[in-house]
Symmetry: C2
Subunit: 294 residues, 2 copies
DNA sequence: CATCATCTGTGCGTTTTTGCACAATCATTG
DNA sequence: CAATGATTGTGCAAAAACGCACAGATGATG
């Protein structure tokens, strides 16, 4: 008579992704399972929730209504999750952190090692995803973000300003220095503008040598001597295979934030983690700012 | 990380019933399953939801919070169920009716047979429960109720006034008539007042012979000649083994209502059913009113 | 127009979940 | 204080749900 509650999640994700396979990926199950649960839901409420079109599932009126209800239930459930987590004032339990891949690799890893050693009862989980996960939905408890202005529903501090520079491999740098009229090969990000204008004066001759969509790949390309690219100083300066391109000023770059959900900021293990992490990252301010005295 | 939605139903029912076994009965599953799902929920949110006390499960703060959330989700889900059902304007599909046991037995059965024959595509389901099921939660679509003032969230009509009378078996009636100073043996309902005052004049001598908690049981007792009891006329007059106690006026009795949920009143198969049932029951007004011309 | 990628439907073997039956514990009652 | 009824915890077998792999179909692409 009444739809099984968990089936509504399957309906919701299928509406969101427009088909079984998208929903299946989002839910981490097989698409056949999604199909079966939707069938069950339709049988339970005695109405079709989707039109089976070639190439996807299109929600009917009833399906949209169900998805709206499921959204309400989802936010209720997320609120519960937060509220229960907020009640847990032990210095133990799970703590999920999300941070960009490369910050973890270059900066965060030793810092997390220290934290784990100091608090062995805290079960730290790391989501080194580049996607900005939704803290409100409790996909993570704490986020380290590179951002100019993080969402205002989150609380936290900007622990460091950041600057970026142009980096090349040592070999490529020598090559440039040896050339009488050097031409700069640029490695471009597909979702960024082209070559920064500021380069004009020092390096009038330039061309786009490669377009990539991922920072790790770009670093590899630079290391291989394909050309130059712009990256935050903490990345370039911590990479022994790279060196800054001379005669170019530093660029502004979004700062480093440590953030959590408002409802979680008074939870002891989260407060502890944020205090620890923020302090350690503040110590690295020269690195993020591109201050090369170290 | 986030509690499985359907597990919240188990938490809710366990809070409502104060233990595993009550929740298991309400959910129609084994108590072991309830225990396992609650364990899963607790593991998922990393907090205890119940204190395991001897004799039952007592919700913790977090458990109460979860139950509140689950209640919100339940009402959302019930609303969805109504909203989807309201969209179904076919003259087919499921239709759940709840009515008191004895109305079904004496009055409704032939009427439902006729309806089923006329609308074979409507899948009629009958809950002959004495409990007043919650139509808002969509436990039933249509209710036939004996009531003075039904809940105002429901819509429908009072199809008949009702009166009650005192009934005895034929044998017991002869016995009374034969006695010079007859003493009336009364069969009393445990949740009702005692013997009606109005009996005083005609039958000054009386005593309580039996107390029962169920109308079917009471009818059996009257048939067996144990004594007299008051019951609605449609019950006594349709029972060939019973006869009215003479010299007593009829009693007022709550009327007969045919009711549905506001959101369902325009659904065609429900509208059809209510029109049909109300018309047929109106034809039986003399029976309900205790008019013995038939 | 051929090819490739993507999506949905279906049968089968496996894993997970569930129900059942029994034991243990506690409150209630005669 | 013994006995009864109710409740929860646990091991095992049955049942249900799930993932996997393949087939068919559609749409995009060169």
């Amino acid at each position: 008579m009444m739809i099984e509650w968990s089936d509504l999640r399957y309906v919701l994700e299928t509406v969101r992704h427009g088909g079984l396979s998208g929903a299946a990926r989002a839910l981490g199950v097989n698409h056949a399972t999604v199909a079966r649960r939707i069938q069950a839901a339709e049988q339970a409420c005695g109405a079709m929730l989707f039109d089976r079109l070639p190439g996807g599932y299109a929600p009917t009126e009833a399906g949209l209504e169900a998805a709206r209800t499921a959204e309400a239930m989802e936010s209720a459930s997320a609120g519960l999750s937060l509220s229960i987590a907020a009640r847990d004032q032990r210095l133990s339990g799970p703590l999920t952190l999300t941070a960009p891949q490369l910050i973890v690799e270059r900066v965060l890893a030793p810092l997390l090692a220290e934290f784990c050693a100091a608090h062995p009862d805290i079960d730290l989980r790391l989501l080194a995803s580049n996607e900005t996960l939704n803290l409100s939905q409790r996909q993570a408890d704490v986020a380290i973000r590179i951002s100019d202005a993080p969402v205002d529903t989150l609380v936290g501090t900007r622990v460091a300003e950041q600057r970026a520079a142009i980096y090349v491999s040592h070999g490529y740098a020598r090559q440039l220095a040896a050339s009488p009229r050097p031409r700069l090969d640029w490695i471009r990000f597909s979702h960024w503008p082209g070559i920064p204008d500021d380069l004009g004066e020092a390096w009038p001759e330039r061309r786009i040598a490669l377009t990539v969509d991922d920072m790790v790949a770009a670093i590899g390309a630079v290391r291989a001597g394909i050309g130059a690219t712009r990256m935050p100083c903490f990345l370039g300066d911590t990479d022994p295979a790279l060196t800054r391109l001379p005669d170019v000023a530093l660029f502004a770059y979004p700062g480093v934030w440590v953030l959590t959900h408002r409802d979680l900021q008074r939870v002891k293990r989260i407060e502890t983690f944020m205090t620890f992490t923020s302090a350690r990252l503040r110590q690295l301010r020269p690195l993020f700012a591109g201050d090369q005295r170290n």
